[in-house]
């Protein structure tokens, strides 16, 4: 399995992401945003976390016009799997590969802590190793993670099973973290080959570092 991790100026989670996928047995290649093609044989593209282009204008807004993004869009259009984590999620919504938008957190704070998430849908590659309703504990670290989508589009997400994860407490009851509509923490596209989430599964790979709930998430891509 070949995982291609995108690197923009300001990306800072590319090496954690590489570590996480290598731990699970993948071959990982980090590629610079000025490349125009993805490596031959890429099985998964990951847009990792960080602050691409300093979050100037809006988080993720400038990255969508990076040269490599044309190749990513084409790859996704042909059914290729793409995962956006944190800033990567912001980039994918700005690019239009995922629905909605990510606003400043309602409390205006940068939120950095472990937080519980509830699996809403597992009929997709990403979360197939988890049960619906299962509660996992994954770190979040973001300023602009407040997911917004209008009511009609929200209904579409629900109808199509595109809501992947919701913020919750340890018992699985919805819990407000950042003001996201319906406490949404992650979504996928209608075709279920593009995934995005604000929490960082690649930071939850070792019990020694607090928790390894990220393993079960990322393992889905290996099935």
């Amino acid at each position: 399995m070949l995982v291609t991790v995108l690197q923009f100026p300001g990306t800072n989670c590319e090496y954690d992401t590489k570590y996480a996928f290598e731990k699970l047995g993948a071959q990982v290649q980090i590629i610079w945003h000025e490349e125009t093609q993805l490596p031959q044989g890429t099985d998964l593209v990951v847009a990792p976390g960080g602050f691409s282009y300093g979050d100037y204008l809006r988080s993720g807004a400038l990255a969508k016009f990076a040269p490599i993004m044309n190749a990513v869009k084409e790859y996704a259009a042909n059914g290729g799997k793409v995962l956006g984590i944190c800033n990567g999620f912001q980039i994918l919504v700005e690019t239009g590969l995922l629905p909605g938008a990510l606003k400043r957190n309602d409390n205006l704070h940068f939120i950095s802590k472990h937080h519980h998430l509830k699996v809403v849908n597992n009929e997709n590659t990403f979360l197939q190793e988890l049960e619906v309703g299962e509660v996992i504990n994954i770190p979040v670290a973001h300023h602009d993670g407040n997911y917004f989508i209008d009511q009609d589009s929200l209904q579409e997400l629900k109808d199509n099973g595109q809501i992947l994860l919701q913020y919750c407490d340890k018992n699985g009851s919805n819990k407000v973290l950042n003001g996201s509509v319906s406490q949404i923490a992650g979504v996928c596209n209608k075709e279920k080959n593009v995934f995005g989430l604000m929490p960082h599964p690649e930071r939850a790979m070792e019990v020694l570092l607090g928790c390894d709930d990220g393993v079960k998430m990322l393992q889905g891509f290996f099935k």
């Binding site: 204008l57 809006r58 807004a61 016009f65 938008a101 309602d106 205006l108 917004f148 003001g179």
Partner: protein, 81 residues
């Protein structure tokens, strides 16, 4: 020619920064006069263009493609000679 573009969150999208600023203005002593606060951003650009309509059209295209996220933001363009 100059384009002055104001970008802000759409009505109905909660403006947390506006709300927090309003709250502080109230505390500073402006509660009686301030009804609502919206915080946005302004982009000013010099254009290599002498036709107002073209300038407006091009600026709108920039907003649609990059400057604004139309899922959550509105934009307003003023062209100055």
């Amino acid at each position: 020619m100059k384009a002055i573009i104001n970008i802000g969150l759409k009505k109905g999208v909660l403006d947390s920064a506006g709300k927090a600023t309003h709250h502080t203005l109230d505390r500073v002593g402006f509660a009686d006069i301030v009804k609502d606060v919206r915080v946005g951003k302004q982009i000013i650009m010099e254009l290599n263009c002498s036709d107002v309509e073209t300038a407006k059209k091009e600026a709108a295209s920039m907003c649609e493609q990059l400057l604004a996220n139309t899922v959550i933001e509105d934009y307003d363009i003023t062209i100055e000679a």
